[in-house]
Symmetry: C2
Subunit: 340 residues, 2 copies
């Protein structure tokens, strides 16, 4: 398939903005005759045709928002969708969800499918494979063609668009700070391997909190887990050899697994060991003991993402200023933490 | 908006089958000239036009399956989607998900949105409100217009289409039978109020299992919960006054809540009380103790639904025979049950 020339390519070639190209092609009076002639001639030469995407946007609003997320079994993404639904419905928008299943190709296919007439814009969180490949052409293409994109949680700095994230490092810092304020001196970390970006940021937050309180950062107190199925021996070793009085875990599965292993070894939670998790999902709420956790506020994240997208869709003027919004997190105190 | 005449109305009016109408309008040689003339004249008189739906189906396969489900936070629906995705992808189909949020109107809007060119067919589970209203016109309309529908879990007998369900009554029977075989004589039931159809079926299974083993069915041993937030006092009363040696709970929230309340009252699970839940979600897997449960096999249910839909989409001939497939359940034994 021969690739069509895009608005962006025309803009780059002629050294003008995308909106200038777009307006020239629509023969807007805002643009000088000279520029319009130049753009139109260039577009004709390279056989530029506004495709379905631009057509659907300009001529016929679908009033539909497309969501593309890596997976749905994870409770966090489900809560983000709920947040998007609420704000979308209040504003008269429908929502369509597609899953990438962590695959780059599926993300591209879903995006193209939804872009050809089904949606006005996108809210998305990148697949692992897309993050690894660092190939974002599919996202840039829809943006160039006039469909706004809002990214959340798993984002990239390589694409200019609106974004909604939490401050992972700060959230982790505050959780560890909370434990230190309760007089725990021996706080361990159960985290992911470093290439998982949010895991790395949360690890940094843990390290900074210890340093700021002049507590030692010991490698033996940090357990890095690659695979939840085979993590038992590492956590058991930590509990046995380092006898931490508190654990900060970077997600709720690591937290509940640490609690189960400790309980089996006769270590009582929270009497002998306090545990804080991350992500306020149903495991944290319903496990025994229930788990103190950093709440990521998926509902709020989804709601903000939807509002940012709708604002941009309903803007009269094109606006090339993008914002990255930080959603505040908070600690939900439950049964898995005590005061020494 | 004036309602267009549908294939179904023409068929009813002329007392012929829908496929006869459809074939007549396409001037099929299978239909007699007489019938074709009659149908075509009638269609012209009432200004029948095949709409987007039929057009997209006949002329341009989207190779996309639309899923409409009540909500997504429930782990069961997430697993069904995974099952649908797997089979759909293997067969070269994409999947689009829309949520009804238990609202009839949203279900109708989603269905219309997806039907106009976005999908070839539907896999759906009814919203509570749709079940209450018993209004299924939106579903019948897309079926009449040639888009197949497969229903799963929350189905209705009022619509003729393919369906995938589990045998709720039998699954509950087997769970209670399992407890009785372990010599428990005092098995309580924690269930929903009767108007929830699956709750009612599971209650029937419990009652039948007790009767078949000549055990008494006592009203005081059955707790019917309307609202999970305010169920503590009822379950506490059951544990205190009836001292059951086992509980069968019709979902995983009721199971984990029963375990938490028992533990707080000093009743040990499984030493003093065995508990079986329903739905093999992450709560059952990760709570302490982990919960023995009836697995609903959402992956398999989704996979079968996808296969039934794809088979129908790729059928050359129209087939008005529909099947209802029962997915087998099985018991996953974990820590919350012991032998007396």
């Amino acid at each position: 398939m021969k690739r069509k020339v895009t608005l962006k390519q025309i803009a780059r070639e002629l050294d003008v903005s995308i909106s200038t190209v777009s307006k020239s092609l629509r023969n807007s009076p805002e643009i000088s005759e000279d520029t319009k002639l130049k753009v139109q001639a260039f577009a004709k030469l390279y056989n530029y045709r506004p495709n379905n995407i631009a057509l659907s946007l300009k001529n016929k609003k679908t009033k539909t928002i497309g969501i593309i997320i890596p997976e749905i079994v994870h409770h966090f993404f489900a809560t983000v969708i709920s947040g998007i639904e609420q704000v979308a419905n209040e504003n008269g928008y429908n929502v369509i969800v597609c899953l990438s299943n962590e695959s780059f190709d599926k993300e591209v296919i879903n995006m193209e499918m939804l872009a050809t007439g089904s949606t006005d814009g996108f809210i998305m969180s990148l697949s692992k494979e897309t993050q690894q490949k660092k190939d974002f052409h599919h996202i840039e293409e829809v943006i160039n063609q006039g469909m706004p994109v809002v990214m959340f949680d798993r984002i990239t700095n390589d694409v200019l668009c609106d974004k909604v994230i939490i401050d992972d490092q700060r959230a982790a810092y505050e959780a560890v700070d909370f434990l230190i304020a309760k007089q725990f001196k021996n706080v361990a970390l159960v985290t992911t391997v470093d290439y998982v970006s949010v895991g790395k940021l949360r690890t940094d937050g843990y390290v900074n909190a210890l340093r700021d309180h002049d507590l030692p950062v010991e490698d033996d107190m940090i357990v890095k887990i690659e695979d939840i199925e085979n993590c038992a021996s590492k956590i058991e070793k930590l509990l046995l050899e380092k006898k931490p009085d508190a654990i900060f875990a970077v997600n709720e599965l690591f937290a509940v697994t640490s609690i189960k292993l400790a309980t089996k070894m006769g270590i009582r939670v929270p009497e002998d060991l306090s545990v804080i998790g991350f992500t306020d999902g149903i495991i944290s709420q319903f496990s025994s003991p229930s788990i103190t956790t950093v709440s990521q506020n998926g509902i709020k994240m989804g709601g903000r993402a939807a509002q940012m997208l709708i604002d941009r869709l309903e803007l009269e003027e094109e606006n090339e200023q993008y914002t990255t919004e930080l959603i505040e997190t908070h600690l939900v105190e439950r049964e898995s933490t005590s005061t020494l």
